[in-house]
């Protein structure tokens, strides 16, 4: 891997390479360039997951022609696909080195420690939503109980916007979550459940199920489960698999004509 990166940088196939390096004992994202080739031996694959593709998006916004290389797990790759589709990154300028993935429903035997499910505390099991629940299990609660359980989770929100700020596929210049006509300001928790549901709706056709939002949530709200459900609906109605389908998302249509016929639910 290190030799490959060195070769890419030396031959100018990439101008920068985003990987990880241990700094002050912490595995941190690091930008390798031609000028620090001697540090390439310190390039590592870190257990900690940062959204390297979000950094690439920020860099590419200011340096349009820059060729960027990065380490990718499956989640990074899915995020890249979405960013290509939404024209946030140019696939011609991106080169990736795939690395082993986290253990998940999609892939067993990965090495990312962050997504190993932690058992939910008993209060969450009793009145909230267990973050490790499958979409189907979460749907087994009766309607009233289900909304109560979700409201318990939502009222813990401290409105840090961490879920949005860390999201690799959140790139809008104006965010509905900050739109005062849509969501009231000045209160903690924010207006629930609308705050979380607005974000959930916007994750339809966008969310690539990387779980970074849930990782960053100080209130342990099961956001990943919520967005999984949203994208299950997108899959069932539009037959669109976010992150792996190569076409435009069904929510990217301009104009007044609806071309896709939704299936009856």
């Amino acid at each position: 891997m290190q030799e490959q990166v060195r070769e890419w940088l030396e031959q100018g196939k990439v101008d920068i390479f985003l990987g990880y390096k241990k700094i002050q004992g912490h595995p941190l994202p690091y930008c390798f360039t031609k000028d620090n080739l001697d540090e390439i031996s310190e390039l590592i694959v870190a257990e900690a997951r940062y959204s390297l593709e979000k950094m690439a998006t920020k860099i590419a916004a200011e340096h349009k022609e820059l060729k960027i290389g990065l380490l990718t797990r499956d989640c990074n790759q899915r995020a890249l696909n979405v960013l290509y589709i939404w024209n946030q990154l140019n696939p011609e300028n991106i080169k990736t080195i795939g690395v082993n993935c986290c253990p998940s429903n999609l892939k067993e035997g990965g090495d990312c420690s962050y997504l190993k499910p932690k058992p939910a505390p008993s209060v969450k099991k009793m009145i909230g939503i267990d973050n490790n629940m499958a979409v189907e299990t979460a749907e087994e609660f009766g309607q009233k109980e289900r909304i109560n359980r979700w409201m318990y989770e939502f009222q813990k929100c401290i409105k840090c916007y961490g879920c949005r700020d860390i999201c690799p596929v959140c790139f809008c210049k104006e965010c509905s979550l900050e739109h005062t006509d849509l969501i009231g300001t000045g209160n903690i928790p924010p207006e629930i459940p609308i705050f979380h549901l607005v974000r959930a709706v916007h994750m339809g056709g966008r969310c690539i199920d990387c779980g970074l939002c849930e990782d960053a949530c100080p209130a342990y709200i099961p956001l990943r489960l919520l967005y999984r459900k949203v994208n299950d609906i997108v899959l069932n109605i539009f037959d669109y698999k976010t992150g792996t389908s190569a076409d435009q998302s069904p929510f990217n249509m301009l104009g007044e004509e609806v071309t896709l016929k939704p299936k009856p639910i």
Partner: protein, 135 residues
């Protein structure tokens, strides 16, 4: 093109969350939580997420200000410290040391807080020391 991530500690309160500053071409552009930091484990509050904004804010004070002729004017540190020391002296001479109080802060370090109370007790001569968390 220069892109760096600089590990640091959040300066907003005394918790000490680990943050990463994203610096592009010498400009601070964003803040991220440090995933492996034992204090915050990859999480931040809204203040931590927006740390970079108070660094790059136009409203940020970059030099001390002294009120002259009813208006705040920029000055040098030497002058500002001189003026403050003189005013303290005259207040203490006139009204006694207990007319001064020191409010320490959650945004400074443990050592700086120690110095603040030492300053109050040993230099000014008062036990009027308190902390912003109790205000």
């Amino acid at each position: 093109m220069d892109f760096k991530l600089i590990p640091s500690t959040c300066s907003y309160c005394g918790t000490g969350c680990g943050v990463l500053f994203q610096v592009m071409d010498g400009r601070l552009i964003d803040t991220l939580p440090m995933k492996t930091h034992p204090v915050n484990e990859g999480k931040l509050c809204i203040k931590g997420w927006n740390l970079h904004e108070h660094v790059i804010s136009d409203k940020r004070l970059k030099s001390p200000m002294i009120k002259k002729d009813g208006e705040l004017q920029e000055s040098s540190w030497d002058e500002a410290i001189r003026v403050t020391a003189d005013k303290f002296k005259s207040i203490i001479n006139e009204h006694g040391p207990d007319s001064v109080g020191v409010l320490a802060s959650a945004k400074i370090t443990n050592e700086e807080n120690y110095l603040a109370q030492k300053f109050a007790r040993a230099v000014i001569g008062t036990n009027n020391v308190d902390h912003c968390a109790r205000l």
